[in-house]
Every structure is written in C-alpha cells, then in structure tokens.
Symmetry: D2
Subunit: 263 residues, 4 copies
C-alpha cells in the first residue's frame, strides 16, 4: 500500500502577530515544520505549536532559517557555511527542547525559504546544514527538495533524507520547479492539486508544465498553510488520498528515499 | 575534604563584538555559564565556547536571559512567568544542541542578570524558570543565589539546586548582597577575594560589610570574567584553594545544597 | 464651534506580518500615530503608511516605543530616562525622514504602550521623553494622557502638549482609566462610544464607571485600529460628531491644552 | 592649495559592546561616518558620537547599512532596491535627529560594508540608495567609491557626490581595489600609507600593486578606526598632509567630484 507524508509549515506567528491557519490545518497534515524564531516563531509560539501537533498526532520537525525576521527568511544572505551550520544546530536544539517539554519526539528538520533554496543548489552549504543537524541527533530526518543537493548532502554524511515535492507548484520537464515569476507556477485549483498529489504518491510522476510525464517520487508533499483556503486544500488532498487507497502518515526512516538507489 | 565549584559567565561575545577574556580564564574555572543568544552570544560563539570548555574540562551550563541584547540582559522586563519559562526552555535547548555537537554534557543552568535578580525575590517567576528547565531535562542543576527563592523553587519541583555565592561582592549581615550602588559593594583586592572564597568553601562563612560572621554555604562561587585582571583573580583563587586543601570541581548532584536541610 | 482630533495607531505591520486595518480606517481619522520600528513597523511599512496618510489628508505623528518587537512595546523595561530619551529622538528622526520623503509635515509624537503608561506616572521619565522630542523639533506636539505627568513634562520644557482621551475606555471618578483587568473597562457598543466622544468634545465631560460626571477635556481622542469593527466604530464617531456640529480636525498648536490653565 | 577630507567610521559600539577607538581618532579626522543602529550603533551611542564629533569639529555623516547586527553589515542580503532605499531613508533620518539634538548639521551619507560594495557595481541598487538619501535632503553629500556606480547614481539624480579612496588599500591598475583575499591588499606601514594619501590628494594618483601609476582623484580618504594603531596612523597622515601643504577639511559641496567632468 502506498504511503505519503503531508507536511506544512507551522508556528510562524510572532509575538503579537498572527500568521497562517495552524489550528484549521493541523487535522489534515501528518508532519509540521515548526519555525524556530529566526524567520518567524518565538518561544511561546513554539511551545503552543508543539502542543497543537501533539494534540493532533502530527509529527514535529524543525524549520530553521537564516536570521531574518524582517525578510521572513526569504532573502539570500551570504553567510558562511559554518555560520549556517551553527544556525541550524541552534534552532534544532531550541525546538527539541519544546518537544521534550511536551513529551513528543523531534522527527525531522526542513530548512526554510532562502537557505533551503540556496542549499538545494550549493553542495557545500547543503553539507554544512546536514552536519549542523547530524551533530545534534543523527537520527533526525533531513527533508530536502527531491533530486537536489540537499538530499545528496544528507546521504553523503549518513543522515536519513526525505525527498520533498510540492502539491501546488508546477514542474519543469527536468523535475525542477517552475519559477514563481512565471505564469502557471502555482496551481490554485484544489481538485487539480489533490489529483497531482495522488499521482505523485501512487505513481511517482507528475505532469510537467509542458505536458511531459516527469518522475517525482517524494517521501513527503508540502502544502502551504499561509494561502487562503489552505485547510480546504489540505482536506481535499487527504480525501483524494483516502479514495485512492493511499495512506497518509509521518516520515518513517525505513521508507525514506535515502534507502532507494538514485533517490 | 572540602570541595567547591568556580563558575564564570562565558561566551558573551556577539558577531563582530568581542567580550570578556574566555580563553585566559578557562584554565582556572570549573564551570562555565554560556550565553545563549538572548543577552549575548550567537550560534557560532556558543559553538566555540563549548569547544573551549571541552578542551579545558570545564563543565558547561546554560546562561539564559531576557531577550535584550541592547541592554545586555541587565534591565528588568515585566514579561509574564509563562513567557520567561518559554525563554528558558528555548535557550537551554539551543545550548544543549551545541553540547551534543561537541560530545559533552549540559550540566547546569544559571539565569543571567535582571531575570536572575528578579526571580531571586519572586517565587512565581522562579518557579516558572525552574519548570522551563526541568521540562527539558529534570537532571539539570539549577544554580541560584544562596538562600533565595530560586533555590526554593527548584527544590519545590524536585530539580537539583546549587547555591551560589559571589567571590568579589560584599555581603549584608542577613546574607544578601550589598547593592552595587553602595560603596564597598565590590571587592577588588585579589588576595582578599581569594581569602573570602576559601572561607566560604571551607567554613561556610563570610564576614559581612559590617563585620559580622554570616553563614554562606555555597555549592559554587561566581567569578566575573569581564573585569580587568579577571584571569589573575581566578588564578589567585585556585591557588589559595589548593593551598587550603580544598578541591575545585564542577557541580556534583550528590553534593548539592538541595540535599542539605535548610539550604 | 467645537473641534476635536481623532487619532489612531497605524503602520504596525512588520515585514511579512500584517496588522490593523489602516486602509479601512484612514478615511475616518484626522491624525495617525505611526509606528517607528521599535515595537512594530519597518522602514517600508513606515513609507507606505506616511503615503497613505498623505493620500487621506491625515496628520502624521510618530509613535515611538521601547525596543521590544516581541512584546509589541507593551512590557515595562526599566531602561534609564537617558536611554528612553535617545530612543525617542531616534524614532522621531526616522519617521521624520519619511515625512520629508513624502512631502508632508511631522505634526506630533505620541509614545506607545508601556513607555506611555509608565511616563504618565513618572515625571523624570516623562521629562526625558519630552526632551528627546523637543531637541529634534520644539514645534512637535507631544500627546499624553489628559491630566498626566506627560502633559506636565511637556509644559515644563515649553513643548506644545495635547491632552488625550480614549473613546472606548471607562473612566474612574478621578479621571484615570479603569484598569483593563476590571470588568467594564472597555466599551464595545459603537453608539455608546460615539456618544461619549461627542460629550467629551462638546462638554468636556465623561460619565465615570460609577456614574459621576468627570471633567475630561481632550484635544484628541484615541480610537483603536486593531479591534474588530474599528473602521465602523470610527465612522460612527465621525457621523455623531458631524451630527452634533463638532468639527474633526488635526491637532492645532493654537488650540492645545498647553494654552489652557489647568490643562 | 590642495584639500582633502579624511573620513572614518565611528559610533560602532552597541549596548554593552565597545568597538573602535573613537575618542583617540576624533582629533585626526575631518569627517565621521556614524553607524545608525542597523549593523552597529544604538541610539545612545549615536548621541554620544555626534557629541564627540561636535567637540572635535568633525563633520557628521550617516553610515547606513543592511539590517544585520549579527554580521556587522558585511554580508550580502538580496533585499529589493526599494527595501534598501527605505533602509537608507530610515537610518539617515534617525541620525539627522541626533545632529539636530546636538546643534550640528548632517553633511554626508556613506553606506556601510556589503551594501556599499554591492551598489558600487549595481546601478539599480545605487540609484535606490541615492534616492533614499535625496528624498530626505537633496543637499546631503553621497559618498561612494571613486569611479563606481555609486557616484554615477548620485550624479544622475542631482545629488552631490564625493569620490572616496582608501588610505591603506592596494589598487589594481584599473583603479579598483585589490581583493582583501589577496596578499598585499592591505598596507600596514604608516609611513607608506601617509605617503599614498599625500600623493592621492596632491597628484590624484596612486601606484598600483603592479607598479603602474593610476589616476585616483578622491574628495575624501577613508581611514579605518578599528585596526590596531588606527589613531597613530591617522596622526601620521595628518602630519604628512600638513608637511606637504595640503589642507585637511570636511567635504565642501563646491569642490566635489560631482562638479568635475569624468568624476
């Protein structure tokens, strides 16, 4: 039976500022990437978010970022790989403390925004990030863009890696994402999105923006929690997965792309 | 044989800013309170500081603070006890990640500056802080001013507590510290300071500013790393302790004030 | 003909975080207190907010705060008066630059949150704040709680002062505000709020929570932009003012409480 | 008679952290670039620094940066030109408030670190920065690397521009600076540095690292205040300038490179 993880960024409120729709979406996802205070989130938000995940049986992961609250972690910063490694260690530790506090386990780490995108194409940076995680706990699962250097880096140092695909993003024929600046980059129709998720989970394929069948065999599929209708979209995905007989469940080290040749 | 821990704040540099004399003092102390990024310190400084402690066999503790880099954590902020609890959990976790990264153990937690002083006199705040630590790891040792509510709070929730005295601060007859605003509050003569440390460690007493013998029976004595001549002072203390046949060593859960009635 | 200023906090978004309903409310107010980056706001938000004010003919004021984005400026910090004076100078200057950029004038300064409340009862702090403003431009109008030390401080150094009342807050018989922790402290009924505003503007009185008639003779009345229905409330106030023949207009130095004996 | 401005970064302390040797160097420079809180500096440091400049008759300029205290403004951030424009407006305004407070004039603006270097080669960014300054006060002098796009951008929008050279940096034959990563990039010998300054000021030339005579005709020469011996170096420069009959004085709008063809 096919199985897929549905992940979503959570805990991105900060102080007086509310962001996302965590409570509405928590019932429809299987993993949460919890912000750690560098691009979003603060200690109290982190604590509440981990408690929310526990309540809904959602697996908790860290969502570390560049230190850039003002830019929401979306701006490239030419920090050194060593600095970024230390940023990841710091943030993973901070969130791990809250998982201990709430009696749950920290399962995975998925970097946020600009640092995720930069490392997907920069092996030295990706390796530094994987090391920043592995030295805290080598059993943590490192989530990265399917086919990217994030996956290669984790494999190289023996850290479990999970390949990620995006539910609502268009793909190029080579398996890369269509740039957000191009028309059609984001798919808004819930039915189309749900259908793509089923296909990726069941067949390991997606139809590219130019019509070719592309191999994308993810361990986890990202849904966005900060778009209007995010909860409805997540619900539609779960419904279609169930209808297709595909189990939705958190990342399982035994089933990861790390273990598949060519992942 | 008498035994005492000598602790010092470390890792208080930040980015381009250098602070303290960590390398000079590391050879003379037995425990380090490592800043966690809220009043001082940053991820890379934390990593280097834990590595330095490891190299010198210095026990590593967390030194959490209010989030106030501009005020160096020395200004009172009327945050709620719940907020402060979450601040401590966050910072303890962040530092714990670096102790894992460097293969050492996180031994204790000593709050910094304003939040330490406020909690010494505010039971609700002290309890929140002790809980913020205990829920990460109930074996962590909570360092607090000898005789203060910090010690009471830790005992109340079953967290190991260590009573702290200050090497270079004058005491009032009731065992409290003479306010820094008063003349004679800080003792600058290394010989006098070393002699006081020996007396506190061996006899459990200190001569108050008005001449009375006061009972102060600390588990750990704080030396300041950010004063001129800090390393010389620490060296003098170690020399006098050795001369008096008193062992200097990190905090030991079996010997803590928690286990002494009336601590 | 009676005249009153209606002020509202604006520009409290930050980076990716949206806050308040600035666009909806801009048409119904006559003065805006624009956040300056310390508790909320960022350079781009400040620029957009000043542009919005210009578009609607709303007078622009600075809304400086303690440096506490995490606490939204609502937490007391025991900074020194000199530090706070410098915080105000800095923030007033930063906003003044955007008023120059958009070709409008900076009219007033109203401190935010905790620092406003603390200074209302602390003359030394209030004086430092007034000086922090006056040394940038002695023609700036300093807005403070009617009858508080903020007003006294401004008068003492010759800075124009404007007395502020609150549209939706209950008053004690002595003219102070009922603590938000007590029932009835906030009035939610738009008709009741509008009626109170008219009475304060026309008669200089308000009915206290215990039924007594209290003298409150404000130059400006604060409406809150971050409560549900804020724009409707502001509209209702403007409508009732118009119906009562009371002009709504920005602060005018010639009409301020500073010029009234006993203000 | 030849004339040159000697500028130095100042006010780069922050809170409890001391940086540079402002007091020692203030007597030897003619212009100060004062940090504005984004990469260094805080409101109280800014106030003290402007007071120090006033005392020594040093012309005050703003030294705005990317918002990156942790990286001391030395890391590239791919912020949009509009964001950077707003950052400059904000910081220029904040410092201008302190010049008003101390009764001096804000004379120039020189961007710091990464944003200065990026804009020297990015016309769109340079233009945004020049506009961010001009809209606060079109009489402010915009300091940029001699021959760079910073100068072009200022000229293009009619903002006075001052060309900057570096006292202790080696030049390539094309007039660009030798990368700090290469040997010989920084000149440490005070006599050699002073001699170069005289030559640049008097003859408009410098000998490149490969021995060619290069045209460099600066309005202002930067000395670094954060290197050991900075004050001695500055003193040597002033002495040699005096010996060569070259006046050292602040930037003068009538003498700027803006007015020279080909600047």
């Amino acid at each position: 039976m096919a199985r897929i993880d549905i992940n979503c960024d959570m805990g991105e409120s900060f102080g007086n500022y509310i962001y996302g729709a965590d409570e509405a979406i928590a019932g429809y996802i299987t993993s949460a990437n919890v912000a750690c205070g560098f691009h979003a989130g603060d200690p109290s938000v982190m604590s509440r978010t981990v408690a929310l995940c526990r309540e809904h049986g959602v697996a908790v992961g860290a969502h570390p970022s560049f230190p850039d609250l003002l830019g929401f972690g979306r701006r490239e910063i030419n920090a050194t790989p060593e600095e970024v490694r230390d940023y990841l260690t710091y943030q993973v530790g901070a969130l791990m403390a809250f998982t201990r506090a709430h009696g749950v386990r920290l399962v995975h780490v998925k970097a946020h925004g600009a640092v995720y995108n930069m490392a997907a194409q920069d092996k030295r940076l990706a390796l530094a990030m994987a090391q920043g995680v592995a030295r805290v706990d080598p059993a943590l699962i490192f989530v990265g863009l399917a086919g990217s250097l994030l996956i290669d880096a984790a494999r190289e140092i023996g850290l479990p890696a999970a390949a990620e695909a995006f539910a609502d993003r268009a793909y190029n024929p080579d398996g890369s994402l269509v740039s957000r600046r191009l028309p059609g980059a984001v798919i808004h129709d819930p039915a189309a999105v749900a259908e793509r998720v089923v296909r990726m989970a069941r067949d390991g394929t997606v139809v590219s923006i130019t019509g070719e069948l592309v191999t994308v065999s993810p361990d986890t599929i990202c849904v966005h929690g900060d778009t209007p209708g995010a909860a409805e979209l997540a619900r539609a995905i779960r419904q279609e997965l169930a209808a297709a007989g595909i189990e939705a469940g958190p990342l399982d080290p035994l089933l990861l792309c790390t273990r598949r040749p060519g992942c």
